[in-house]
Assembly symmetry: C2
Homo-oligomer: 257 residues x 2
Amino acid sequence: MHTKERDTCCPTPRASSRRKNNVVECESCGLYGMCKVAGLDAPVPDLIDEIVGRREPVAVGQNVIAAGATFGEIYAVKSGSFKTYVTMASGEQQIIDFYFPGELIGLEGLSEGSYPHTVEALEASSVCRLDFSKLNVLGERLGEFQKQLINALSKRARQDQWVPLLMGAQNAEQRTATFLLSLSARFAEHELPSVRFKLPMSRHDIANYLGLAVETVSRMFQRFQSMDLLEVHGRHVELRDIDAIRVIAGLNNINAT
Amino acid sequence: MHTKERDTCCPTPRASSRRKNNVVECESCGLYGMCKVAGLDAPVPDLIDEIVGRREPVAVGQNVIAAGATFGEIYAVKSGSFKTYVTMASGEQQIIDFYFPGELIGLEGLSEGSYPHTVEALEASSVCRLDFSKLNVLGERLGEFQKQLINALSKRARQDQWVPLLMGAQNAEQRTATFLLSLSARFAEHELPSVRFKLPMSRHDIANYLGLAVETVSRMFQRFQSMDLLEVHGRHVELRDIDAIRVIAGLNNINAT
DNA sequence: CTACAGCCTTGATGTGTATCAATTGGATCA
DNA sequence: TGATCCAATTGATACACATCAAGGCTGTAG
């Protein structure tokens, strides 16, 4: 199964310069196909260097992407690792995901034109950078259909960012609040009623999705109602104080889709 | 903000035939761009009907997609709603996500060639279907670069499916097990050591990501070690019994990425 | 309109995990 | 090599939520 594992573990060899193991070869990199297409397979044509930065080093704690920055590049992790996070209203950071060699960072920024979260190196790492603005991919070089497909995929990737926020919610109250907000936001995105709507799923389904007990979901709804944040009649719901719900969810400042 | 909300709530009008509200117009549909490109904007050319099924009705509880089925189509929710789930080793279903009008279903199947989870209607709904096999999108009509980009995006969408599994995990033990497995799987995907590796992130980061306390993460690692499933020395980890860990995680039969 | 059935709510108790507190261990740097 | 500091472990207590149990409501079908 794991025949030729290079292992950096345990007695670290004391080489003079820090030796980085666990580097993905180009063949195993998420950017490989694109690099190859761009003609970057073998001896490097100079013009390619304008588009793909190769193996740029990143120091521990350094940010490759800052949340909110304008989209322009995607990165492939060559070695090392990264975490991505958003900063909550409380100032705490909520980790969204981790990234490892061969994986791509930054795709979430494609649809909206800005990166939704910050990307920080967990250790001394290196990345390859693919410059979208210079490639002008979404412009002339991409057919309309493909453009739409890519947009749809990118949007989905961003939409999924709600889920880690749900995970990060420590208590049932926060989770339920976040759930309601995510529903509302998704409805609004397609111009459906987003303040007063009918929950299509059962309490059982909600509980399953949120990792809570059915009874707890019910109690949270009741609690919100008693706080005048919400009006619930069975599956009919009206958000009466969205801002307050956002505060409870802890994402007052977060611009999650 | 929400100017022209049509509302289906509360005193439901007793029309003879069930009136379905909350139908997205084509303009607001996730498939819109693609339909438009395909020439489906106005009066429908017959040949288009081969590719796009329009407003096909789906009954409550009916499956639009079965987990594991061969990828061939994507669907846009026209009205109604859906849930997606995987069936766990225990036979219980773990809900991955919900889908609402205007959103696209099935994109996750693009990269691997099969759908990772089952899609079931929560109510009487309707969908538009876009037939990929007939469009042959990934074949001749798509440039190599775009193909790679779409693949990367689709892969990412699928990778995110780990997260709901983490959410669904009721207790800290399951979450930690699932976390370790997801790391291992992601390493393996790029031919990095996946049995014995170094955790690049702190316990603090792991706890934040899993929605647990640092101490709990530590205790879980210790517990696994005492069960001989794991060997931990600080950030160095070796999975000694992956199958057993899968059992604990509850996804013995799941083929998550 | 009435009756049934499943869904949802409400209450009481136990357990898993957060929290608080203190110690140990490991990595970094002089 | 040794000192320092932060990370990780380990233990004790409190609380939030799961679980068990029962009753009320809503929607559906006859």
